[in-house]
Symmetry: C2
Subunit: 384 residues, 2 copies
Amino acid sequence: MLRRSLFKSAGLLAGAAAFGSAVPAASAADAKVFVPSEKTPLLLNFNENSLGMSAKAKAAVADAVNGAFRYPDALREELQEEIAKTLGVKMENVSLGNGSSETIQAVVHAVAEKARRAGSPVQLIVPDPTFGCAEGYADAVGMAVVKVPLTGPKLAFDLDAMKKAARDFKGISLVYACNPNNPTATVTPSALLEAWVKEAGPDVVFLFDEAYAEFVTDPAFVSAVELVKAGVPNVVVARTFSKIFAMAGLRIGYAVAVKDTCSAVDGFASVDNINAAGAAAGIASLRDKVFIEKSKSSVELSRAIVVKALTELGLEYLPSQTNFIFHKIKGDHKLYKSRMAESHVFVGREFPPAVGWNRLTLGTPEEMKAFVKVLKDFRAKGWI
Amino acid sequence: MLRRSLFKSAGLLAGAAAFGSAVPAASAADAKVFVPSEKTPLLLNFNENSLGMSAKAKAAVADAVNGAFRYPDALREELQEEIAKTLGVKMENVSLGNGSSETIQAVVHAVAEKARRAGSPVQLIVPDPTFGCAEGYADAVGMAVVKVPLTGPKLAFDLDAMKKAARDFKGISLVYACNPNNPTATVTPSALLEAWVKEAGPDVVFLFDEAYAEFVTDPAFVSAVELVKAGVPNVVVARTFSKIFAMAGLRIGYAVAVKDTCSAVDGFASVDNINAAGAAAGIASLRDKVFIEKSKSSVELSRAIVVKALTELGLEYLPSQTNFIFHKIKGDHKLYKSRMAESHVFVGREFPPAVGWNRLTLGTPEEMKAFVKVLKDFRAKGWI
């Protein structure tokens, strides 16, 4: 539990447990603004997509469950094929993961093994703060972790410092770059990353985590899948069905890489790692273009509601390209969180060294209206 | 795909793909003997439980799907608790896996890492033939694999040779012992394994794969969970929901071990490895005692049908304690398999060095009657 608690603190988990497997809080809302309660708390803490899964995905699960006494090979292949088709790559370029968290694990362990066989030192370079998964997996195999603090008022990747960390190291460097980054919700221009990939030698392996790519509208972002298509061998792209497709519970993610790299990663994924419910839901979700648009537009509407309120309240925020937003709060973060929890609103945790900021998941527009109401109440009370 | 094809040959997979996510073949049967066809083949090749999942488990999935946009932490904890309660251990003794295949991977990788940190050589000792998963994972981390052939007419573990392999090795040995063994379906008396555990030093780690434990009636088998309860630190027991609970598609397995060992294994399981559909189905299945009894009695009935036919035909078989049976065939195995496939019956593969034997999954009684009819037709044709 200790490792999982890196990502999900005990207090927040209690909120989730109370909520159980219930329906989205928004569905409890009537025409007026939804009011969070103990029974229907607002869970804005884990970047989940509270629209809920596509109706077509739900129907696909209901169908798949009748065949779920069989191993999921057929569905697995169909999912792999559908992903490849969607991205314009071959099936051999897609390694399925039990959520992108397993994919990230497989990449970290594959790179560690590559280094071991070459008798080479190995390190993981991560911006700080970022999504903590890669770091946790590196610890498990004794891989050194170099944390490079975000820089400037916009909390950007310090690419010069990250490059230097790789250049100065005698061995293999794995660079974990979440783009857009979690928790900042901001994009690192792809041109900058691509320039680094081009100048880096084969001893630098890039893992681009694009969990939130589908929400991005900023043209400065181009998926690193394009690098894979161009045949770059030292790039792996991790993607997930947890965000745009609202499937966090069904655990489907994948890696995209050139054939040999993809095979190496797949060698560290567990056999039969894709469950039939997730595969069926994933296939249906990829084909449900209406849901994808709905998912995007819902987040955009929710973001506009929150941005308007933050602007009115004079609370700084970073330009979000994801289904969450990183914004400043005034006063003590712990106190803010606990007061929010008292109002049955569970916001994200603090991500030191980015102190004074809160990561807020963008739920449905109805949920965000409810959040704004609580936030404005806090201002009226002089708490923020 | 190469690694997965170790377990599932391309030809068999084609059979599975044709079957898709359809309902159990048996449900297509009327009161007369079911006749396999291209559309409703008999899949007796992967030790799946063709009863299909418990109705309560299906209902639990239908419920869980509405909350599957959330991460599955609450369901995960509930499942872990229910398993612990069922076995009479603590939650800290249970590490959940994405099927026992992930659990086996986590154990292999954890032992490899332990050896690496100790600067010690490490090897995997497996009986041969056995379930191939551990071996595949060992290959990925460059762990040497020592295969000890089964011995005698009953294809028993050669425990003396396995012990010697561990004793003669200067380093850490991981012993993979599937009990009952796959593909032989036979039990190794627990007293013999326990004696080895007691005399072995801490440099021998035992992984007991008890995927089929729930089907066993032979009193010579006692679950190795008892060793964990007694506090033995170098024992890990792997279990699965794929067999007795007919949940192969939903990917739930687990390890049972003393606290520290369990944590070490859990450190190599991926974060959020349990999907909500599988967790919900798993919890419901553990509580559905009627289904468990039905699952056992169905296999016993199916086994009796097959044993009677094998006896009549004078085909040798090993005493099955699982939902499959290992029996001899006459003539060329490849030819037998392809002829069966032509009759729309997919039987298991050959497991060299156990040549001349076939592993046959025990489907529903209706399915096994259909199999027996085909087998007897083969005899009439002089094929077996």
